[in-house]
Every structure is written in C-alpha cells, then in structure tokens.
C-alpha cells in the first residue's frame, strides 16, 4: 500500500470503527429536549409573538438576517409561528426517535429560521445545538433508546460508525479552545491574582447575572481561582479528543453548573451539558445484553 493510501485507510477505519451508540442516543434525547423546553418557556412568558415577528408587524427586533426566507413563503406575520411550531413538533419526535432523521434536519432548519427572524436572541448555544442535530442526522443514534425499540423490547446493544461522535467531540474541542484562547488574548488579566477579577465582573453584571456586585466586592479568591480554572479548562479543550475526556468532563460539569447558578443564560449550561454523554462514554456501564452474557 502506498504511503498516501495508508493514512487514508487508517482514517477511514477510525471513522467506521463500530462504537456503542448509547452516548449518541443520549444526545439525541437531551439536545432536542433543551430546545423544546426553551421554546415552551418563551410561550409561557408570552414572548412568542413579539420575538418572532419583525418590528414592522409589531415585533421586537428591527433587524432580521438575510438568511430568512420563510416570510416570502408564508408571509411576514406567519413566518414566526410556522417556524416555531415546526421546531416544537420536530424536537419531541427527535427525542423519541420517531422519524428522527428528517425531524432533525427539518427541525434544525425551522429553528434556524427563528434565529434569522430574531438574530439578537439566537445565541452561541442555539448554533451549537443546531450543529449537533445536523451531525446526529448522519449518525445511527436513532437505532437505540427510541419509542420503537422500547415498544419492541429491543436491546441497546447496538453499534454504529464512530465518526459522528468524533466530529461532535472535534466541535467541542474547537468551541472550548476558541473561547479560552480568545479570552486570554483579549484580556490577559483572566490569570491575574490582583485587582478586580474578570470573573467577578462577569458573574455580578446585573444585566446578565444575579450575584450582587456590592455583596461580593471584597471576596476575591473564589473569582481568581474560578477565572484561572475557566482558562485552564477551556484552553485544555483538546482533552475532549483524548481518553482522559471523562476527567475533563468533570471540570466542564463544574464550570457549567457554576454558570447555571450565577448567571441567567437560559438553556446555555443545560444545552452544553446535554452533549456531555460523549465525554463520559468511557465510564458508561456496558449495555444490558452484554452484561447478561
């Protein structure tokens, strides 16, 4: 075999290596649930109409994104409700594994239209979860822990190609490393142990968090330690690609739980944690049918 073909063959073998599908199935269950409940929350507080309607029709945002096309199809007043209900319908289908692959793609497309309609509210976590849904659509995650496998009493001892899990881990690695390096490049004081800690300014910002800046003003050390820990964890995002990823996952859980407890970023922490089954895959007990053997 030539020297060019050998690495390619190695790569193809790595991509197609059979892996336990349960971690991917957990993503297929959790990711759409995050989106589903986040959208229900929007309805619960009565924001559906004003968020997903252009300003001229009575909505909040004066700015719409050029990727918006649904309004040409169904009209500017109906585009929001249509995209909202299509997304809302698709997400439980994905979780249940019923028509999962088309539901992932249609759901992600409709969810993207909501983002194009209301760009200020379409945050990084929305982009992450859409990207994961699209990758999952090419995986075999719909073969385990679905409504149908439950009805038929099928086992969870099913394998599929490794590459979708690897690609999602690659995305996580880029996300964490990018966030960490850009933090450090723009604000080296993330690593400082004097002056006002950067993390303190973030988690006591009244516009985004609920810790009182006055109450916490004299408590510096938790913020210095938290800030340094954040940088170490994020710059160390490449650990996601190694076999030590469950240990990295523990740090990630701590960071996201901290963010969830101190800031008001909606589903950000839960959405990121919904991807963590891919970090803890090595610690998962074997499937039931294998245990029985």
């Amino acid at each position: 075999m030539s020297t060019i073909l050998r690495p390619w063959t190695w790569f193809v073998e790595r991509c197609m290596a059979p892996i336990d599908l349960r971690p991917l199935a957990l993503l297929r269950i959790f990711v759409p649930l995050c989106i589903f409940f986040d959208l229900l929350r929007v309805a619960q507080v009565g924001l559906t109409k004003i968020l997903f309607t252009p300003y001229a029709q009575g909505g909040l945002s004066q700015v719409q994104d050029e990727g918006l096309w649904l309004h040409q199809l169904v009209g500017p007043e109906r585009a929001g409700p249509v995209a909202y209900f299509v997304t809302l319908l698709c997400m439980p289908l994905v979780s249940l594994g019923v028509a999962a692959r088309p539901a992932m793609l249609i759901g992600a497309l409709a969810y993207a239209q909501l983002g194009h309609l209301y760009p200020p509210g379409d945050r990084a976590i929305d982009r992450v979860l859409r990207m994961v849904l699209i990758i999952l659509a090419f995986s075999h995650s719909h073969k385990v822990w679905t409504w149908w496998t439950w009805r038929r009493g099928e086992t969870s001892d099913v394998t599929g190609p490794a590459w979708p899990a690897g690609l999602i881990r690659w995305a996580l690695c880029l996300i964490y490393m990018s966030a960490g390096i850009s933090k450090l490049m723009q604000q080296p004081r993330w690593l400082a142990i004097d002056g006002v800690p950067v993390l303190y300014r973030i988690v006591t910002d009244p516009l985004a968090a609920h810790l009182d800046p006055v109450v916490w003003a004299d408590t510096r050390w938790p913020f210095y330690v938290g800030g340094i820990g954040t940088i170490v964890m994020e710059v160390g995002g490449f650990m996601v690609l190694t076999r030590w990823r469950p240990w990295f996952g523990l740090f990630g859980v701590a960071m996201h739980v901290g963010i969830f407890g101190s800031m008001e970023l909606g589903m950000f922490s839960l959405g990121m944690l919904s991807l963590y089954p891919l970090l803890f895959d090595r610690w998962m007990p074997p499937p039931r049918s294998q245990q029985a053997r």
Binding site: T9, E13, C15, G59, L60, Q62, R127, S182, K183, P206
Partner: protein, 198 residues
Amino acid sequence: MNVSAHLQALGCLLAGALMLLLGTPGVDFLGRGDLRTPKERAALRKEVGEPAATIGITLADLNRSLRLPLYDKVAWVQKPFRLSQNWSLYRDGPHRVRRLEIWVDGDLKHRSADPDYTWLNPQLRNRRVRPMVESTTMKKGSPNWRGLSRYVGERAREDFPGCQRVELRAMEGPFPGEKMTQHHQIVLTAPSWTAEES
C-alpha cells in the same frame, strides 16, 4: 471497505476541516483590519512585549492573507442552518456596572437584578430578550431600542391602566455599583406613546 465508508470518512474530514477554517481558535475573533498599521503594532509591542507581540502580529497577518480569503469562499455554507463558527464567548466582562430601570408615572417598577423591583422580570431576563436589554442599556441609539421600548410601553398600559408616562433609564457606574448615574433614557408619553431617546 466499501464506497460508502470512504464517502462517510471524506464527509467527516471535510466537515472537520470546514469547522477548523471557519472557527480557528485564536484568530476567529480577529477583524480584517486588526494589527495592520505600524501604530497598532507598536502599541501591541508596548502592551504585551516580545515574543507575544510578534506571535500576535504573525497570526493577524496569516489570518488576513490566508484564512480570511478561504473563509470568504466557504462562509455561505453556514447560512441555511445559521451555524456561524465563531466561538469567542465571554472574552471580557463589563468594565462598568449597568442596570436598566423602568419608571411608570414616577414609580420604579423594574431594576435589573433587584429583587424589590421585578416587574417584567420573566420577560426582560429571558435569554432571548436579555441581549436587547443589554444593548439598549449600554449605549444610546442601539439597533433595537425602539422595539424594546414599544414593548415595555405596551405592557405598562396593560398592567397599569391609565398610566401616562413610561421611562427606561440606563444607569451606570464603576464597580461595585454603589454610585450609579443616568447614562441616557427613553421616554414614552400618552397619548402618542412615541418613544424618544435622550
């Protein structure tokens, strides 16, 4: 191995390479004009010293000459699913404490992160509305201040029938925020309820 295996591996490789190109850690937040002029480069050298400055300048040059031309050719793939690969999140916190206050007919009804004034909290603290509240509070003439103030005005008329004046006051001050002053305000008054920013 069959053809399908090779195609899947090729797709994976392309997707991974695309993600790396579109969201390269360390340069994805650099603008096209960053660190271009001798003045900017000198300022960076003075601020961070060597070798960090040379590394930064080299990265900015590579980004401009190599990555961004490729980026421009493939960036369209992100559009349909709105998948922008820029992940430089929460780079720095705010340097001043800012709060939005809403006054209805002279009574304070809402103040950011104040448990005593929570009117419209579920709406204004919702993760999708919060960025708009943030931009409206941070600077005068933000892109969506009209939409936000119209919504607040409508809700004030619903919840406080007969009200005549609604004020959105953008307050700010140095950390920890004990001394706050008004940066700008948006006022809506009956009967026209047209929002005026000043």
